[in-house]
């Protein structure tokens, strides 16, 4: 128990990613507008990127660029930054595709409200 509390006090940097994830989760669930849902999903993705890049931090380290001025001291871990680039690209692609589908939904139903769309679908059937 004491160890867990000490870890909670020490790892308070991760709280930023945690709060961001909760904000995105709440936005996705509580709004029925599809555009706001997409924005919420984007906020959640951003929190994941923040968390993953923060894992590569080294206390007192330098950026992993071996140019002039690099003293050979401890460096930040370059691997999370390189790997999360894939996540960012996939996030951009998914957002673009979701927005395109949203535009099509608006053309078809005339509204962006998810509840109204469900009602309209029920009427059609």
């Amino acid at each position: 128990m004491a160890e867990a509390l000490a870890a909670l006090g020490q790892n308070y940097f991760f709280y930023y990613a945690l709060i961001l994830f909760m904000v995105g989760f709440y936005t996705t669930l509580s709004h029925s507008n599809i555009l706001k849902k997409i924005i919420g999903i984007n906020i959640m993705e951003t929190s994941i990127f923040l968390f993953f890049v923060a894992l590569g931090y080294v206390e007192g380290g330098q950026a992993p660029i071996m140019g002039r001025g690099a003293e050979g001291g401890p460096y930040m871990n370059p691997l999370p930054s390189a790997l999360i680039l894939t996540g960012i690209v996939v996030s951009v692609s998914i957002t673009a595709f979701a927005l395109a589908l949203m535009v099509k939904l608006y053309h078809f139903y005339g509204t962006l409200d998810a509840d109204e769309i469900v009602m309209l679908r029920g009427e059609r059937q």
Partner: protein
Amino acid sequence: MRMQEILILKIVVRFVIPFIQVYGFYVITAGHLSPGGGFAGGTIVAASMVLYALTFDASQGLEKLSHERASLFESLGAIWYVALGFLGILVGGNFLTNGQIGIPLGTPGYLISGGLIPLLSFGIGIKVAVTVVSLYYSLVEED
């Protein structure tokens, strides 16, 4: 009043866009020396073109980069990347190898160094820039 605001905006954007594009290409070409690379620089170049389309009009932006030209550049970026990858197989190594197949790596810290890395970054930059711009156009045309 509104006309004058638009006039100021248009003139300022005309001045700013070349600087944004030069900075974007600097980030692409110096990706192996400083923070940056193909993805970041390509997004900066794309931002300049989106700024042009926002300030003037989407139709005027489409004149600068039509859909046909966009798809041409996009395919060229991807094919350029894959072709550089097959270079390794032609010489007798693995797919997308750089130093092991004898490509001169140069002196670290100079612009011409790193073997294939600047060329690959250039292909990625072109591809990302054109992709982001045409995503913007295809979403904006639809309203």
